[in-house]
Amino acid sequence: MRNELILAILALVILAAEIFTSAGNKHKTITWTAVLFAAATVAGFLPHPEGELFGGSYRTDQMTVVMKNILNIGVLIVFLQSFDWLQRKENHDKISEYFLLVITTLMGMDFMISSGDFLMMYIGLELATIPIAALAAFERFSSKSAEAGIKLILTSALSSGVLLFGLSFIYGSTGSIYYADIAPLVAVNPLQTLGFIFFTAGMAFKISLVPFHLWTADVYEGAPVNVTSYLSVISKGAASFTFLIILYKVFGELLSVWQPLLYTLALATMTIGNLFAMRQDNFKRFLAFSSIAQAGFILLGILQAGNLGSTSVVYFVLIYVFTNLAVFGVVSAVSHATGKENISDYKSFYLTNPRLSLTMLMGLFSLAGIPPVAGFFGKFFLFTSAASAGYYILVFIAVLNATISLYYYLKPVRAMFIDKTDTPIATIRTSLPTRISLVMCLAGIFLVGFMSIIYEFIHAVSFGL
């Protein structure tokens, strides 16, 4: 509960500070919030007792602490990357709104992860979703941003409805909303299977699995870059964690139902995500489809239904946080400095901005799963866990998909390093917070893979069916 309490206090402090700061001092909120949040992130690593609260509707164990810490690190990086954007004039009076909304959603995600019953999970889900729609529509004068907001809120509402509908079946057939009570009562029968499928559909919206992904590209494109990065990394990571926990802890008996279901979803998600990503020129749309494809890989780990699976999923998301935020960091720096967001704008980028290009290169290689960067380890262990369940053909198709994904991940590389143009993006002076965030990402990209101790730690606290 510590993490949620700290976040709640932080939110209240920001709210209070908003009242008492004069108009001229608003921008100081940015630094202060980042510093406080960094402290909160560090505090998350302090030893934390396991236990239950509110009669079992909220529980903490070592794994949930790890998951929350991963999300905290990601949010910290996102905060650091949003400095430039928030310091703009048009955002001047919305600074604390941004932080409030992000921190609230993060709190919602923490509740989702720690939930011990479906009610808590649903509250967390809503808390994590509705403020994001406000964030997506953050740029009031951009019609695309407004479109993103409305699209997100409508699809979220629908998916929540579907999810709740599924849960009502489960509740109706078991008479409880508590995970611990439901788990032994779940069995393969039409009613519960149907309920489970509706539940999965609702979650699939949040993780943006094919065929529930159609909102993703438009929302990612319309929302401000920093919100997009938050959506694609933190929000997706939290939803994957929750899905993983509930599948393993509640629907274990339905293994024979959800393995083939996830098999199909994984295939469709990887393939469709990849095929659509190939044709994109807008960087945010490109990353949207890439993140859909990555979600398909995450399913490969979930599929395994054992310690190996949960470890590789959490490990992969950790790497994904650093990797995707490295790419987003560069995109956001370029976007704020020049307003350019297309891959074709990046021609000869290396000649003018070697450091940013190399950061982007490492991020893209890590996304594609190329050694020696961390993405390789993350993907390899996901493949390992799927193979351990005997799904060799799925692994083969997944690796082929990784090869296809290499094709489009190399497109920005080609633009930056190979293609020549007379009018490259001018040399950008990045601000200190952006630099810190990129260094953090790079450190993560290089170290998380090689330092097996991180993997071993996650494995030690992992859980299986």
Binding site: P371, F376, F380, F383, T384, F396, V399, A402, S452, E456
Partner: protein
């Protein structure tokens, strides 16, 4: 500390040092020093390896060391070498060192060029020292991916197309590999704990059904890098577009990773399936051998000629491996080393000639012997080695391969051996045609009169490659005997099944 670690540490330190240089002069100096040290380390390794062998150390792999990496997955950083790996490391360090000198005047983004080149070399060295399949695969991919940047940025011709084609095809190969490796990994559970360790895996007899399933994945996966027909198409385009040093390294060393992996992993660990399916791949490799040679005849671009000739020669490596007897496999390894050296020599020469004439079209050149005698003679030596003139390495290799292949008594093996020997004749045709056209006769282009001969760094690079070719040709027995030693357990495992 284990000497083998040096082969990863030296390149990494060199790359870091290049970061601190300012321009081409600094970068190439640092690279030359670093890779020079690597060459010395390789020499030391070769000497101390055979000293240990002489002293009676008969372990399968010497300099073995094993550090646990991912404990719960039982992934280790396990290294060790047998004599084949030692020779491969020797080959790689010669080619890399020569490659640095062949790119002595790489003006455009020189630091980045040398870093990528050495990164590629790191992958190669790491691959040859690894005994754990996970690290082996990791290094394999490290060796493949810098190719995209090297060809894309510093290449010529349709470089984006070639770079992408090469990368995607080789990565497609690793898609097959991952499945095969994971199959071995989880298959090893029958002997206790799952493992990626090559030595432990080689003590397990996998069920035949499982071998049948995974053998094609592993063999084709590595085979793509070894230019197995019909998956060789990345090779001509890639080699033709790549800058000189990269073609040298890629055709000279990287393609050997394919052949090496084929016998060290696929055939060694899955012997029954290898015996069963050998005929399919024998037919494919025979096509590689003959088709590659025919392909070279029709080309007009020097690099394409050599690239197709590489397809043919690397095909011969896989062909000989699949014959699965001592003599033929011995020949395969010698062919790997021999081809590595002479194809690197070829590509170095082509790069040097191109930098003078600015054309690689053989129709536009002629009589170059008169203006650049050193390069011309070196080219002839490479050509003669390639067509198998006695006294040079190519002869030893091909002779051993064909003698070994003909030892099979049955019709199938004899017929395809005879077909494969055709390539010797065709090789002679395309080599002599090129030599005649561009080196001999009257000077075709009067502009070429002004061109100079090789400079000191070019000479160094060429001599470094020619020396071992001659040494192998004149004193083949030591090499061949040491290779036979290392092949023994592999051949035993393969023939025990028949």
């Amino acid at each position: 500390m284990n000497i083998l670690n040096l082969f990863v540490i030296i390149p990494v330190v060199t790359m870091a040092a290049i970061l601190f240089t300012k321009d081409l002069r600094g970068a190439r100096l640092v690279s030359a020093v670093g890779m020079g040290l690597q060459l010395i380390a390789a020499a030391v390794l070769i000497f101390s390896f055979f000293a240990l062998r002489k002293a009676g150390d008969s372990a399968e792999f010497l300099f073995y060391s094993d550090v646990t990496w991912f404990e719960s997955l039982n992934i280790h950083y396990a290294i060790g070498v047998d004599s084949i790996a030692v020779w491969m490391i020797g080959l790689a360090s010669v080619v890399v060192f020569a490659g640095i000198f062949a790119s002595w005047q790489m003006e455009y983004l020189s630091r980045e060029f040398f870093i990528s080149l050495i990164l590629l070399a790191t992958g190669v060295f790491g691959f040859f020292i690894s005994l754990d399949l996970f690290t082996m695969f990791l290094f394999y991919e490290v060796a493949v991916i810098p190719m995209y940047l090297l060809i894309g940025i510093w290449g010529s011709g349709p470089k984006e197309y070639s770079a992408m084609k090469l990368t995607l095809m080789l990565m497609g190969g690793s898609a097959l590999l991952i499945v095969g490796l994971l199959g071995l990994y989880f298959g090893s559970a029958q002997a206790g704990e799952v493992t990626f360790n090559l030595l432990e895996l080689s003590r397990i007899n996998f069920p035949v059904a499982m071998q049948r399933f995974f053998f094609p994945f592993l063999f084709v996966g590595f085979g793509i890098l070894g230019a197995l027909f019909p998956l060789h198409t990345w090779s001509p385009d890639g080699h033709a577009s790549a800058p000189t040093a990269v073609s040298m390294l890629h055709a000279g060393v990287l393609m050997k990773l394919g052949g090496y992996g084929c016998f060290r992993v696929a055939m060694f660990l899955l012997p029954e399936a290898a015996n069963e399916m050998a005929w399919i791949f024998l037919i494919l490799t025979t096509i590689s051998v003959v088709y590659g040679a025919f392909g070279a005849i029709w080309q007009k671009d020097l690099k394409y000629i050599n690239a197709y000739s590489s397809v043919s020669h690397c095909g011969l490596v896989l062909f000989a491996l699949l014959m699965m007897n001592q003599t033929a496999m011995d020949g395969a390894i010698i062919q790997m080393i021999s081809h590595g050296l002479m194809t690197a020599l070829f590509f170095a020469l082509i790069g040097m000639i191109y930098s003078r004439t600015h054309t690689r079209n053989i129709e536009e050149m002629g009589g170059l012997m008169k203006v650049m005698p050193f390069l011309a003679v070196a080219y002839m030596i490479a050509g003669f080695a390639s067509l198998g003139l006695p006294g040079l390495s190519g002869f030893v290799a091909e002779m051993t391969v064909f003698i070994g292949s003909f030892q099979h008594q049955d019709l199938f093996h004899r017929v395809i051996t005879i077909i494969a020997t055709l390539s010797i004749v065709i090789t002679a045709v395309y080599i002599l045609r090129v030599v005649g056209k561009i080196l001999l006769g009257e000077l075709k282009n009067p502009e070429h009169q002004k061109l100079g001969d090789a400079l000191w760094f070019e000479k160094l690079s060429l001599v470094l490659l020619i020396l071992p070719i001659v040494a192998m040709g004149t004193l083949p027995l030591f090499l061949s005997n040491t290779i036979l030693d290392a092949l023994k357990p592999i051949v035993e495992r393969l023939t025990a099944m028949i």
